[in-house]
Amino acid sequence: MELHSNAPTGPIETAWDRHRFEMKLVNPANKRKFTVIVVGTGLAGASAAATMGELGYNVKAFCFQDSARRAHSIAAQGGINAAKNYQGDGDSIYRLFYDTVKGGDFRSRERNVYRLAQVSVSIIDQAVAQGVPFAREYGGLLANRSFGGAQVSRTFYARGQTGQQLLLGAYQALARQVGLGQVELHERTEMLELILVDGRARGVITRNLKTGQIDTHTADAVVLATGGYGNVYFLSTNAKGSNGSAAWRAHRKGALFANPCYTQIHPTCLPVHGEGQSKLTLMSESLRNDGRVWVPKNAADVTKRPQDIPEADRDYYLERKYPAFGNLVPRDIAARNAKDVCDEGRGVGYPPEREAVYLDFADAINRLGQHTIEERYGNLFEMYERITDEDPYKTPMKIYPAVHYTMGGLWVDYNLQSNIPGLFVAGEANFSDHGANRLGASALMQGLADGYFVLPYTIGNYLARAGRDLAKTPVAEDHADARSAKAEAEGRLKAFLDNPGSHGPDHFHRRLGKLMWEYVGMARDKAGLQKAIEEIPKLREEFHAKVRVPGSGASFNQTLEKANRVADFMELGELMARDALAREESAGGHFRVEYQTEEGEARRNDDDFAHVAAWEWTGKGNTPTRHVEDLDFEYVKLSQRSYK
């Protein structure tokens, strides 16, 4: 299969403008004749649904939560990047573009990233106009800070709740369209299957989680904005309900899954407290602006109280190893270094693993005063204290890396369309702009860029061009392909309910998570990945044989929801391991122990792997096929990242 990015050629600076000019437009009077389904109401989904509604399309939006406002984008703390250069510190669209490609370890498509940097500017304008209360300076202008690896201050923020405020902005825009009758919103409704007719995406099968009712919704285009798949690991910073099922269902219907091995491990999360732990909590990495990371120099000191360890016996290892960037090195580097010092026996977390390092604010408090620190991070400190029962104003925080974000996702072209015509994928659910590693404060930017400023154009173009074909083959609810998709979904649920079983889905999910963290986690090697590829199918079989789902399908049944999601994670986890095994290099969030520099940094192999790996489902029990989209670098010079 040949993969075409469909990105415009010619000068990159004007590529998106030219591309938009070449698009066909839908006649305003015809827009309401087209139905667009949007699955997921996070930043990407809510902004797409609202904007498509404003344009006059007939929109149906779905979310599994009880309200569109609860999508997991809400938990993003730190901020959103935009190349506004309000601070006059040398930022520009080109610099944000360059930093993003470089930060992604040269594994993203230049033209997508350039467009992202371009529209970043409009996102801030749009959000402010909606009433998003970004932080401001005393003069009344917007405040910025530098964030995770950036040497310019381009991050806009709303205290430690930037995701919440941006999502509320998008949610309110969506609510307005619901009120106006332009968008039909289905909460507590989960997508179970994609409907394909003549190779095009024409609708979805859904389950009403409140009543258990299974419905068919047909459409002219389908958008998946369903987030990432970090919950494969069971323990991650994702919300409990976050899942990969919509994307996986599309994958099984033919959509390619790109770069599944690229997982971002966030360096600043709270360490694991014990077996019953149900999720991990992120502490925004904006904390690294003022906090200093250290562990004791001597393993013998790990049981001492931090205040009893004198300055001379502390190892501020990031500042020592990376003097230019210090505590602000990119996420993957910060995370891996934390693992290294803990592997050396110098971790300070809960015994027996002791997996944690200190993040110390004593210097910053002395320098800036407690008040300033409180203003910057008050809610984060409070959250920390609540969970750990320790006061970070007095004693250093303990942090450890955790799975946070997945750069991989469904393969899309420049138009954010998958290889299935009419199926568009936005936000974390697609693989596009972050390459092998996402920069801090860029997830919010990408979600909103896709939803507000890209999809409304590219979907319009698709509908304008395909409109005649779509009109010729109207798809009703009782269309044979819709009925078979529905039967498939019903069969799957029934199998769970009929299974005698012995354990709940969490039991198996936890075990999958352990396998993934052990063998497909922060550092991977060939033997471990092969082991994962052997073990996961066995666990999957055991899961299907032994999972128990009490209750009925015709009611609110959270165990059924979970079992259905875990089943997909069991397949997706295996694909991640296969992708990690096939990628014989280290790049960004994919670190292969065999491929590192003498200094222990990721070593890419640009000759053989400067490409996107896009996997094709070939049927149950068959080995998937790996396709390749080569990446060209015309503007950014490939270089070994060095943060020394």
């Binding site: 406002r69 304008d125 959000a127 009120g179 014990g274 999720k279 609540r386 354990h503 709940g504 128990r548």
Partner: protein, 254 residues
């Protein structure tokens, strides 16, 4: 190893919206003090599933106090005994060894029970859909720094905008009023220059929708502020009342 406590949990079980409910008793011998309240329920649920019984239904998602999806009344208090804390962020160390704990869903006409501890809060969304926004389409609204906003105003707006829409205020109110929730949104948008044009119409639309959705009126008990995990202030209610009255007067004189 973390320390454990013994607890007796009495948890509300209700099969569906129209079923009658009752408390079910669970004796727990070793609840980890470091576990969150929801993790303690997870443990009970896994045991119920293994026995083939239906687990306790409850809403939750982020488990870090921001999505607003969790919420139950614990020992008579929405989100439990610790102030400024959502249920998912409540830890078992807040309970004494040997304590008896009562767990119920939000109780309000506008929030019908779906099952056990899960309730339907879509009435909140209706309030926002009626006017809890600034009417602006996606496009080119002008540069973000065109209108400077005094820091104090932006901060006030942000204070109000931190509401997570969990519904604890309604559960705490003797009248099951949604005024704290509604006034937080009205204040978030209403103090900003961008939100001025629709300030009065927004106030009116939201208050009227609140009433038709089955919420009670506010009679200044102040229980809502005490229960709010985000510390939303009752001062916003006075602000909304003023705007609402103005809106009614304006509409009568024009």
């Amino acid at each position: 190893m973390s320390q454990t406590i013994k607890l007796t949990l009495n948890i509300w079980r209700q099969a569906g919206p129209n079923a009658s409910g009752q408390f079910q008793k669970f004796h727990r011998d070793a609840v980890s003090k470091d576990a969150s309240f929801l993790e303690a329920l997870d443990e009970i649920n896994e045991e119920l599933i293994q026995k083939g019984e239906e687990p306790i239904a409850f809403d939750h998602d982020c488990r870090e106090g921001i999505c607003g999806m969790c919420g139950m009344v614990i020992n008579g208090m929405p989100h439990g005994p610790r102030t400024l804390t959502t249920t998912c962020q409540l830890h078992m160390r807040e309970f004494k060894d040997g304590a008896e704990v009562w767990v119920e869903p939000w109780r309000a006409t506008a929030f019908p029970v779906i099952k056990d501890l899960a309730v339907d809060r879509s009435a909140f969304d209706q309030i926002i859909q009626a006017g809890g926004y600034i009417s602006i389409n996606t496009g080119s609204p002008g540069d973000a720094n065109e209108i400077p906003i005094p820091k104090a105003v932006a901060d006030l707006s942000m204070d109000a905008a931190t509401c997570i829409g969990c519904g604890a205020c309604v559960a705490a109110c003797p009248n099951a009023s949604a005024m704290l929730f509604t006034s937080a949104k009205a204040t978030h948008l209403g103090v900003l220059p961008q939100g001025q044009a629709e300030r009065l119409s927004r106030a009116r639309a939201m208050v009227e929708t609140m009433e038709t959705a089955g919420f009670g009126g506010c009679t200044n008990h102040g229980e809502c502020e005490a229960a709010c995990p985000k510390g939303i202030s009752v001062d916003y209610i006075a602000r909304l009342n003023r705007d609402y009255l103005k809106a009614v007067v304006v509409s009568q004189t024009t």
